[in-house]
């Protein structure tokens, strides 16, 4: 018995070991994967993001190299912390905090120590990097904005968040992705395709050769360059005109649906959202919840359209045959549409025809049109739905399908709306007559307003507005090359357009705003607006609205301008429209007095009223900080340019 103990122990022990090894090697599969994660490093080769040009080939967005300082905490030994910190302009506490954070993540794997250094900071650090074991530099590519406008059009790039990584297998943590604007909607074209290299590495993350001779590696594909439909000069001019005003400008080329300018005010310099200060600046912009600089008013703001809507009322009335261009309605400086309900009118009164109805913006005329329109059929619900269908054929009340990632539908009321609101009532045209003059339930965004103007300019059709003209190597989506025809016959447009042209004539609501040599057709608008303050409806200063297209024959630009709280149409929106049209068509401004008044004019006092008293200080604080931030960007840009020049000098010395 005693002899048997050791041999049996040996055999039992060896069998147990073999069982365990069998489990590890044959049964449990997880180790294979772990081993690959361990020893095979996937190295990504990021292609340069596509450049962005304006419609005239002017470069708007290029790329700049950016340098992240990476750290492998395990390898950090005996470095001169003081020198390191002063070199990068960081505090010792910051240094310790970052190192500890990296250690917690992993002592062996690299983590970002300081992201997005610019060339200047990089050059200074690179010189001394040998002294700082454990640190190395990872090059990435960031946007380099060549212009200081168009932030709302461009959007920005940011690191992907966990949600995106989970949803889209293309992205991994730390990747950059376009957010908002064209950066988002054309992300897949702009980013290109990153290349993958599988590299064998050792435990120190040192690379020791490619895996299986690069059998699984892929080559990166360069991002495609975009040409925007935006006219850089016009966009810039629009943003300048809107300084100290809030609102939006949308200009469209009627023949193609190309967006020439998309201005949202207040605007900001796109460079604010690049580099080390990005998230700080973004928070600042984001936190201004009243001026909302990140809110693209051209696409998102739903306003009551006001008087420009009369054009639509007129067109539909003509199409439905309830009026002709010679039908007269008598105006008594107002219109009594129900007992005790009186709608004021600012026209010169008397018997008003369509022509004068438009150029003097007669409320009475269009109210009568509208009542006739709705009361044409016994079934008012049917009449309202017909009216709504006409409007919808202009692309109203729906996302139009333009190639920017944000938008609002606006609102076109239908019989459903009114049957709900006036449940049990026998409502008719008079009940909802405020729709006639654009003050009812109808809501439109500036881009819808501009598109409707382009449709009028085209006499009855439009192309879906879009902002990208060409993608290098690709053609733009078919839907931007498809003609949308309205339900209004072409012949009904001409009388309306004649009226719109007369707006600029004597007695017109925009008389004096015209430019010699350009036949502009336009329409003023003044929209009442209210704000709910503590549950009470408070009337605010009216919005100033203007829509126009020019020239009258063969139109090249259709435009909608919205200035919040800008009193009435002619005061702010009108002159801005004129200047934009002149800028685009003539490339120079003759209305210098207008220009001066618009550039220097400010509605700040109006807007300050919107802020609660106690917040006004913090708003100015935010503004100051943004100003500082911009100044800093400018300083670094200047100093980088300085460095570049110096480098070139050295080169020329060395290679005479």
């Amino acid at each position: 018995m005693r002899k048997a103990l050791l041999p049996s122990v040996v055999i039992i022990a060896a069998s147990l070991l073999l069982l365990r090894i069998f489990y590890l090697q044959v049964i449990d599969d997880s180790f294979k994967l772990k081993s690959e994660n361990n020893a095979i490093k996937i190295k990504y080769d990021y292609p340069e993001r596509g450049y962005v040009y304006d419609r005239n080939g002017k470069l708007l967005i290029a790329n700049q190299p950016s340098y992240d300082i990476m750290v492998v905490p395990k390898d950090v030994k005996n470095i001169d912390t003081l020198e390191f910190c002063s070199l990068l302009d960081i505090s010792k506490e910051f240094f310790i905090k970052k190192i500890n954070k990296a250690k917690v993540y992993s002592p062996m794997l690299p983590s970002v120590f300081l992201p997005q250094l610019n060339k200047l900071e990089y050059a200074a650090f690179q010189e001394k990097i040998r002294k700082f074991g454990g640190f190395y530099i990872q090059k990435r590519s960031l946007r380099d904005y060549q212009v200081d406008y168009g932030a709302n059009v461009f959007g920005f790039i940011t690191q992907v968040n966990e949600n995106i990584v989970k949803k889209n297998p293309y992205y991994i943590g730390g990747d950059l992705i376009g957010k908002q604007g064209i950066e988002q909607s054309y992300e897949e074209f702009l980013r290109g395709q990153k290349g993958v290299k599988y590299i064998l590495r050792d435990k120190f993350n040192r690379e020791i050769g490619s895996y299986k001779e690069g059998k699984y590696d892929t080559i990166s594909k360069q991002g495609s360059d975009l040409t925007l439909t935006i006219d850089g000069e016009l966009q810039k001019y629009g943003e300048e005109l809107m300084i100290n005003k809030w609102g939006g400008i949308v200009a469209i080329e009627p023949k193609t649906g190309e967006i020439l300018a998309l201005v949202s005010a207040p605007s900001f310099n796109p460079a604010l959202l690049v580099g080390r200060q990005r998230s700080k600046n973004y928070t600042l912009l984001h936190n201004d919840s009243i001026a909302k600089p990140l809110y693209d008013r051209g696409l998102l703001a739903e306003y009551t359209p006001g008087s420009p809507f009369k054009i639509l009322t007129g067109l539909i009335a003509l199409q439905e045959g309830v009026v002709t261009d010679s039908t007269r309605f008598s105006c008594h400086r107002g219109f009594s549409y129900a007992r005790g309900r009186f709608m004021k009118c600012h026209c010169s009164g008397g018997a008003v025809q369509l022509h004068r109805g438009i150029y003097q913006s007669c409320n009475t005329y269009f109210s009568n049109c509208y009542i006739k329109l709705i009361n044409k059929y016994k079934d008012h619900s049917y009449a309202v739905d017909r009216w709504a269908d006409h409007l919808k054929s202009f692309g109203l009340g729906a996302f139009m399908g333009y190639d920017l990632p944000i938008g609002k539908k606006g609102n076109i009321p239908t019989s459903k709306t009114y049957n709900r609101v006036y449940n049990g009532w026998n409502w008719d045209g008079k009940t909802i007559v405020s729709n006639a003059i654009g003050q009812g339930e109808v809501l439109m965004t500036p881009i819808q307003l501009a598109n409707f103007m382009a449709t009028v300019a085209n006499r009855g059709y439009y192309y879906t507005p879009h902002i990208v003209k060409r993608i290098k190597g690709n053609i733009i989506d078919k839907k931007y090359r498809t003609k949308h025809t309205t339900t209004i016959d072409r012949k009904y447009f001409e009388p309306i357009i004649t009226g719109m042209n007369a707006v600029y004539g004597p007695g017109g609501t925009a008389s004096g705003l015209g430019v010699a040599g350009i036949e502009i057709c336009g329409k003023t608008g003044t929209a009442e607006n209210y704000l709910k303050v503590n549950g009470k409806r408070v009337k605010l200063q009216d919005h100033s609205i203007f829509v126009a297209f020019a020239p009258r024959d063969n139109p090249k630009i259709a435009i909608a301008v919205f200035v919040e709280n800008g009193y009435w149409g002619k005061r702010w929106a009108g002159p801005i429209t004129t200047l934009m049209i002149e800028k685009y068509l003539n490339k120079k401004i003759t209305k210098v007095d207008f220009e001066k008044r618009m550039l220097t004019g400010s509605l700040k006092a109006q807007y300050d009223k919107l802020y609660p008293k106690k917040h006004q200080d913090s708003i100015s604080l935010i503004n100051n900080r943004i100003k500082d931030s911009l100044a800093k960007i400018k300083r670094t840009r200047d100093s980088i340019n300085g460095v570049l020049k110096k480098e070139i000098k050295i080169d020329t010395l060395q290679n005479p």
Binding site: R2, K3, L5, L6, P7, V9, V10, I11, A13, A14, L16, L17, L18, R20, I21, F22, L24, Q25, V26, D28, S30, F31, K32, K34, S35, E36, N38, A39, I40, S106, P107, M108, L200, R201, D202, K203, F204, I208
Partner: protein
């Protein structure tokens, strides 16, 4: 006599297995050290680990010749002196030893280091064999038991403070040898139960559970035994002893053990999940072995081995290279070689005509077994991390020569069996 020459009588099976293990060991050391070497280094570059191991292997040939050419009687005659020299060399470490990685276990001669504890195993085996082969020794006698324990614990006491718990652990195998030679069985049984209670206490981390289970077993035992055998006092004493043991294990573990000792146990018990920190070694070695699969990744193709992810891969973790590059088949082969060698030595030992060489042979088999078992069990993650090399495989001159001398002294004795002395 005709058949007296060593070459005719020596056990060639053992030698073939020995050569196979040494050669495979070198091949795997070569593979595992490539991660630190540039591509164009020569195989015989003696500044590299595999080059040095090659030298160690070459040097073991004259050592074998010397060991085999010495009279077999010499080992018995001078065993006490050899033991004394080994003990002195261990004591000398406290004065002249060189400290590497916190352990004072080496003598440094120039750039060359020697680890005396590797040779002390053979010396202790000789001393034990000599003592037990005395006709008057009866292991049932408590005095003899104490004396034999002194022989075993002398080197252990000198090795533990170096500190080298791995080498000290090896000496526990001598209890199996003693059992073979007549030590009462309850020694082993007590030790076995103690280990189970130890693990159980740590795994549950609650002495009361262990005590409860023990009480239940005792109660069942009490009622199942015949009336005359029922001894309530003995059961009660046993319960008290176990209670005290369980509590003291808990106390020692939480208050005497250092954190890294606790960590090593906790990893095995699945309590620690910090795979970048304390669990790194075990985790990486499991990954390396597990990724090998059934057929392995092929020699020199192991990604984990090339990447050097497994710490100490050429010494204590050399088996991970086998597992990764040779797969389950290679693992079976290597384990088969070890089991074959150990069983062969046991068989040869049982065949010995003198008690001295039988006890010595048993010691050799036991020492080889406990190294083999503890090392591979540690590498595959079922034993706490402890520094025990894999015989003939792991990198290191002292280890290779120590095991070579250990084995070949026995092979010499075995070859001499026909030559009565």
């Amino acid at each position: 006599m005709r058949n007296q020459s060593v070459t005719n009588n020596i056990d060639w099976i053992s030698i073939v297995i020995y050569i196979a293990l040494v050669v495979m060991g070198w091949l795997n050391i070569y593979s595992s050290s490539l991660s630190t070497v540039s591509e164009d280094a020569s195989i015989f570059d003696f500044t590299q680990i595999y080059g040095k191991q090659f030298l160690f292997i070459i040097f073991s040939i004259p050592i074998i010749f010397v060991v085999l050419s010495v009279e077999a009687k010499f080992y018995e005659k001078y065993s006490i002196i050899i033991f004394a020299v080994a003990l002195l060399s261990l004591i000398g470490l406290f004065l002249f030893g060189k400290t590497i990685a916190g352990q004072r276990c080496w003598y440094a001669i120039g750039s060359f280091t020697l680890q005396p504890s590797e040779f002390a195993k053979a010396a202790t085996s000789l001393a034990l064999a000599k003592y037990l082969s005395d006709v008057q020794v009866n292991l049932k006698d408590v005095n003899r038991q104490i004396q034999v324990l002194i022989i075993i614990f002398l080197p252990v006491m000198l090795i533990l403070p170096q500190p080298d718990p791995g080498s000290a652990l090896i000496y526990s195998v001598f209890f199996i040898v003693l059992y073979r030679e007549g030590l009462p069985g309850w020694y082993l049984l007590t030790g076995f139960i103690a280990i189970i209670l130890f693990v159980l206490t740590l795994a549950t981390n609650n002495p009361y559970i262990v005590i409860g289970i023990t009480a239940l077993v005792l109660i069942i035992n009490y009622f199942r035994s015949r009336l005359v055998d029922r001894n309530i006092i003995a059961s009660a004493i046993l319960l008290i002893v176990i209670t005290a043991f369980s509590f003291s294990v808990n106390f020692v573990f939480n208050n005497v053990f250092k954190q890294h000792h606790r960590d090593r146990f906790n990893i095995l018990l699945g309590k620690e999940v910090d795979m970048k920190g304390v669990g790194y070694n075990t985790n990486q070695s499991e990954i390396a072995i597990g990724s090998g699969g059934f057929f392995g990744k092929g020699y020199l193709e192991g990604t984990q081995t090339k990447g050097g992810f497994v710490p100490e891969q050429h010494t204590d973790y050399i088996f991970t290279t086998v597992g990764e590059e040779w797969g389950f088949l290679g693992s079976i082969f290597v384990i088969g070689l070890f089991v074959g060698l150990i069983l062969r030595v046991i068989y040869l030992a049982e065949r010995q005509k003198t008690k001295f060489s039988r006890v010595y042979g048993y010691c050799v088999a036991g020492i080889l077994f406990i190294h083999f078992f503890v090392n591979i069990a540690m590498v595959v993650g079922v034993f706490p991390t402890i520094g025990v090399p894999l015989p003939f495989f792991s990198y290191g001159g002292s280890g290779l020569w120590g095991f070579t001398i250990l084995l070949f002294i026995f092979l010499k004795m075995d070859a001499n069996k026909v030559n009565e002395w």
